[in-house]
Symmetry: C2
Subunit: 764 residues, 2 copies
């Protein structure tokens, strides 16, 4: 059985040897180079351009401004299309824009024969603006009476929705309760994938091809068609290996503009986005402010009701917009059971800050920060152990969501908590670190979360897969699902091997997606691929088996009753009938009945599954320095059956690192003009190897009855629980509740000063 094996990454040797081909490796010689002219105001209008100096630069071949580009609004998020217009994404982008909504908005583009000429010309484009005051917070945006950021969105409120689950008022009115109210604020952070967005586009006949670093080639195809106003069948997207995405490339970023440039010029045009542009112009994680209340029975520790009021700052364009804060408040509600009722209001508000979108966890790192801070605050208020109160209130096996009917059919959540607690030495250390007064103090903290394994039933879940058999009995696995660095290709190969009954080494994955020939799949997001695409792989493996058995029956003049595949042979009644290699050779070359053995299926998925996990952290807090140092950190995950435990562990390590940066150092900072101050990897404080303790990943394997191989989500969850666990450990160590991320030294010190732990620190 290939499931559960620590197969080495199928893309490993090529990636470590530098042989793997990324988009930049494929750019043909002689491609023209496009560079974007970005606005130097955050809010306002482009009135006119003076292009004379730019056009005079040697090597410049074309300049297109927002006055040349089509005025076709299109959406950018990587969601499956809906044929129901009421469920379609907000279309608030155009290829280039006269209406400037963020500092750095795309207002023109220069094309030249080389990068130097293009960049020189960009600097020589003169722009006349009509400037408006920048709107730089959600409160300002909601209060603004001036020109709205989008004219069809007066008041800058993109969307607000309210959830009333049973009777929250009854909880408020219940006698003998303790009520805890607090506010939690998360910050805007960037994905910081190693490879920036890069694409090049060229024409083939009347059709345009874009080779792009994306997570979602089939969705990019659709949006390029929409944005350029051409039939979707005239668009071809090719996705080579990519250097990470983390959700930023679950967005259709610059492919439409790149395609349009090829359509306009008829030439091959490269559009290579810099790191600074990636920070400023692509997407980031939504900063969300949560105002939360919990009403708890102090005797039993049971939650009676909670309220979650979440304001999410969207920045200049809708992108994934409200879906993220909606996901956040849903998880906030689902992770614990409120006995009487739950109330939530979620709002998504445009500002002139950089646009936010999908990022690993899709709102849940934010909601988990709120819900897990709140639970520790409640535990503290009623004097209960944070582990115990979670065990008591967390989502139980069999839970059915009242709104979506999504059901919890497997749960290792309690076991995860026990495993994590044991590793960290919870019980002893909660006592040991209870009362400290020294400069260096220790604490242990924890957090939990749930995470869905795809987007059903909110949206469509569908995946197609194809298998092609070779003469030697090996196969190609052909998917629309994408390897984005997460190890997808390896586990897909294992799944196909398991489904067919052959070793993983006999499966060659077609890693590059070409939308002209790849089976349709919406792509890498929502931790969906091992679950949804996994089902398609299982189906297509079974379809291929049927084809193999039918050919074996023909070849051996028998029937396919009782056939199986073992040791690279078709067996019948347990006895070898024909080797797969011989069978395949005959299938290709039989003089009476040649057949290319292939199979292709679509799996329409109407299942979903809750994955779970928790984080336990021990920190050392240097009180006078305001410095938090994680000493021990462990994530324990229930992601159902693990397809490849070693890869799962690596996935968890990466997520924990992302969580660490989110907790302690990362934050996009703006000046009062709305200009990003630290949009580069020097000033933006991504944690380095030196900032990491040993990362420990543990698993509780359950066998989910709906997962294709018992598996559930794993891609995004590891990034979720680290920040609140650290915050709660600091609370344990110091008694100070840090309710705003990141917990960087200055902010920590201010909080410690506020709590009287340090004095006169500003003078010190």
């Amino acid at each position: 059985m290939e499931i559960g094996k620590n197969i080495q990454r199928v893309d490993g040797p090529d990636k470590v040897s530098g042989r793997a081909k990324f988009t930049a490796d494929l750019v043909p010689a002689g491609a023209l180079v496009a560079k974007i002219v970005h606005a130097e105001i955050a809010n306002g209008w482009v009135e006119s351009f003076d292009l004379s100096e730019a056009q005079a630069v040697d090597g410049v071949t074309h300049i297109f401004t927002c006055f040349d580009a089509p005025d076709i609004p299109y959406p950018t998020p990587g969601h499956p299309w809906s044929v129901d217009s009421g469920h379609q994404d907000v279309m608030d982008r155009t290829l280039l824009t006269r209406r400037v909504r963020i500092y750095g908005d795309d207002i023109a583009v220069v094309i030249a024969r080389d990068t130097v000429a293009a960049e020189r010309a960009v600097r020589l484009v003169r722009v006349q603006y009509r400037e408006l005051p920048p709107i730089l917070s959600t409160d300002e945006a909601l209060a603004s009476t001036g020109e709205p950021i989008h004219e069809n969105c007066p008041g800058n409120l993109l969307k607000r929705h309210e959830v009333n689950d049973r009777n929250y008022a009854a909880a408020l009115a219940a006698p003998d309760t303790v009520t805890v109210t607090s506010s939690y604020q998360t910050q805007q952070v960037q994905h910081c994938h190693i490879e920036n967005p890069i694409s090049f586009a060229y024409m083939e006949g009347q059709r345009v091809t874009v080779v792009s670093s994306t997570q979602i080639p089939h969705i990019v195809r659709r949006v390029v068609g929409q944005a350029c106003g051409i039939p979707w069948g005239k668009v071809r997207i090719i996705k080579p290996y990519i250097g990470g995405g983390f959700g930023n490339k679950q967005e259709v970023l610059y492919e439409p503009l790149n395609a349009w440039l090829a359509l306009q010029t008829g030439k091959t045009v490269l559009l290579d986005i810099s790191r600074e542009e990636t920070f400023q112009n692509t997407r980031s994680r939504h900063p969300i402010r949560f105002n939360c209340t919990a009403i708890v029975n102090p005797k039993t520790g049971r939650l009676l009701g909670r309220e979650c009021l979440a304001d999410s700052q969207q920045g200049g364009y809708a992108s994934h917009g409200h879906a993220i804060v909606a996901n956040a408040v849903t998880e906030f509600r689902q992770i614990y059971l409120d006995e009487l009722g739950h109330h939530a209001v979620a709002s998504t508000i445009y500002t002139n800050h950089g646009t936010t979108g999908a990022m690993r966890g899709y709102g849940i790192p934010q909601s988990a920060f709120a819900s897990e801070c709140l639970m520790d605050d409640v535990a503290l208020a009623i004097g209960m152990d944070p582990l115990e109160i979670r065990k008591l209130n967390c989502m139980p096996l069999g839970f059915v969501d009242a709104f979506t009917n999504m059901t919890c059919r497997s749960s290792g959540l309690l076991a995860c908590m026990e495993k994590g607690a044991a590793y960290i030495g919870w019980a002893n250390k909660r006592i040991e670190y209870a009362n400290q007064t020294a400069d260096l103090r220790r604490g242990v903290g924890m957090s939990i979360f749930s995470y869905k394994s795809n987007v059903y039933p909110i949206s469509l879940e569908t995946a197609s897969a194809r298998i092609i058999m070779n003469q030697d009995g090996t196969v190609q696995l052909h998917l629309g699902a994408t390897e984005i660095g997460q190890g997808g290709d390896t586990v897909f190969s294992q799944m196909a091997a398991a489904a067919i009954g052959i070793p993983t080494e006999d499966v060659n994955i077609v890693s590059t997606q070409d939308t002209d020939v790849a089976p349709f799949d919406t792509g890498a997001y929502a931790s969906r691929q091992t679950y949804v695409t996994g089902k398609a792989i299982k189906d297509v493996g079974e379809a291929l088996r049927e084809n193999i058995f039918a050919f074996a029956a023909y070849l051996k003049n028998t029937d396919s009753e009782g056939m199986d595949i073992q040791n690279r042979h078709v067996v019948k009644g347990g006895k070898p009938l024909v080797s797969l290699a011989d069978l395949a050779m005959n299938a290709f070359y039989d003089l009476n009945h040649s057949r290319h053995l292939t199979a292709e299926v679509t799996h329409h998925c109407t299942d979903n599954a809750f994955a779970f996990g928790c984080c336990f952290v021990e920190v050392e807090v240097d009180v006078p320095l305001g410095k938090i140092k994680p000493i021990k950190i462990v994530n324990v995950h229930d992601s159902g059956k693990l397809i490849n435990p070693k890869l799962a562990e690596a996935q968890v390590h990466g997520g924990m690192s992302m969580g660490l940066g989110y907790a302690l150092s990362e934050e996009m900072k703006y000046d009062d003009k709305g200009r990003l101050l630290n949009g580069n990897l020097l000033d933006y404080k991504l944690p380095t190897a030196m900032d990491h303790p040993e990362l420990v990943a543990m698993f509780v394997e359950t066998d989910d009855p709906t997962g294709p191989f018992g598996n559930k989500a794993l891609g995004e969850p590891p990034a979720i629980p680290v920040a609140p666990a650290i915050r709660n450990a600091v609370l344990h160590a110091t008694g100070v509740a840090l309710n705003q991320l990141p917990m960087a030294p200055q902010r920590v010190l201010e909080a410690f000063a506020g709590a009287g732990l340090v004095k006169n620190w500003e003078e010190a």
Copy 2:
């Protein structure tokens, strides 16, 4: 109906604008460059190398000699594999060879960082040989008692076979007959495709990819596996647009060596073959000497028997070997009916000349030269009109071959002859030009031929095809069959459109074959693709229709009874039910039953069909100059139904041009060392535009019941009949029978002198 429409070439705009991507356009920056060291003897052994000077060249990274390369014999012809080892091709090649069999044999290879370094190092490789006398004719080869060219082939006879059809002896013994015996000699010519063989190879994991200019990617995959001794599933071949092949790229030329270099170095290695190497080291048309006899009833003009003894010169390696002369003697036999019997002996003989292989017409340009010269000689001998004797004796409708059961189910041959004769003004000019004595004389000549539409039942015929539907109701057509400049992609698109019921512009052909994902098809040769692949396209179009109808039935809650596709809509009972675009959108995005609408099939083909044609020529002969000038030339073809008449016409023009060079000027010439003297496009006399009269192509459309759309072979036939028609026109003009090709001035003048038409020309 899309069949029979003059659709513009789907690859036309990209090819004329220079946007089309050929192999050279795809070579990644930084690829290493390989150059081959060629032997400087024609027969013998490499004893040793001195590489010291070559290795010292700056930029040289590797040198591999024949002592390093694996000693795995492999075949090179582009034939379908046979699982029966008795029917497999001769395996007489190795990647590099110690045993030198042709001048220029591949004995070592230098790899360097650039072309200059590689070529410099090649010139500095010192080689010690043990030289043997070169064997430069078939007679010498058969008589040789020395070391054979291949040690397992003593006497250098690769193969000989004899055909006894009924009773040729009875014809010989028949009373009152006229017997004509003559010898006809064809020459060695080269394909002269514009793009030389070029490939580059690189590793992906344990697998090797070769991007190559080939007609037969799936066969190249297999042979690379054989030659490198690796499983075929570990090989991936990608075929971009190619600049012609004409059969030379129906051969696995340098892809195995290129793959092996990537396997050895782990690097991307380019192997770009020069024009001189293409002449010397790839393939060419077999020179065949025919000794023919015809026994005819002089009263009726009926053939009683014919004999054809054919010696084919193979050169140093087997390549397609005996298959070509076997095909030649078969067509010689089939094109006319011998009343009493037929006798043939065909021999293929190794020499140290350059290797011969497949070339447009596959032996039939040679056999047609013999059979059509012979028929004019017979007509002359009995005083009958050459047109009449052909009409009387040619293959009739309903003909069944006694050996293969191949049946003539459609024939426009007689109608072709009539159409050609009318165009050229046959009857009048045969009389008008009967007796001329001036220096400038005119004559009219003709020839006919038959040609099969694939290789069944000699070998396997199989083709697979896949269609992928897009959201806008357009489709991709995904084939293993190859566009090689002949217009295949255009007619495939028309066929798919016809099979589905949509306009051709809604079909996007996937022109590049990638053996990892392309359906299996043996490729472009034997004029098979419109016939065999056409059947697969018809089948897959029908399979897609079924899928479309099933989804329409689901969508509209009805059944698929009486559904059809008209005007981009599914209609039922003649009324529009749903547009294809709406249907496709729902298929992709239906929330209850999403399906990626695709279809994939294999067609195993057990049909074949005779295509026919003829050529009529009027020439002007300048007797004192020995110069033959075609004045008017027309090919008339019966290729069944024409898919695209304009493209068919273009195909005929190209073939006629090739026939003209074959007739008048082209010939590969060797010195007594076996060294090719004119292996370049300056010294090798390919006809230029100035050498062409207006080329006229005409058709007689039949509707073959076995062709997928009534169509039959057209790719190769146009090259066949030109040379004998010109020869016969010269015979008509001068009474001189030119029995050796090419009919270049020196040879013509010698013949005229021999016949007494010119005197003392050598002194003149």
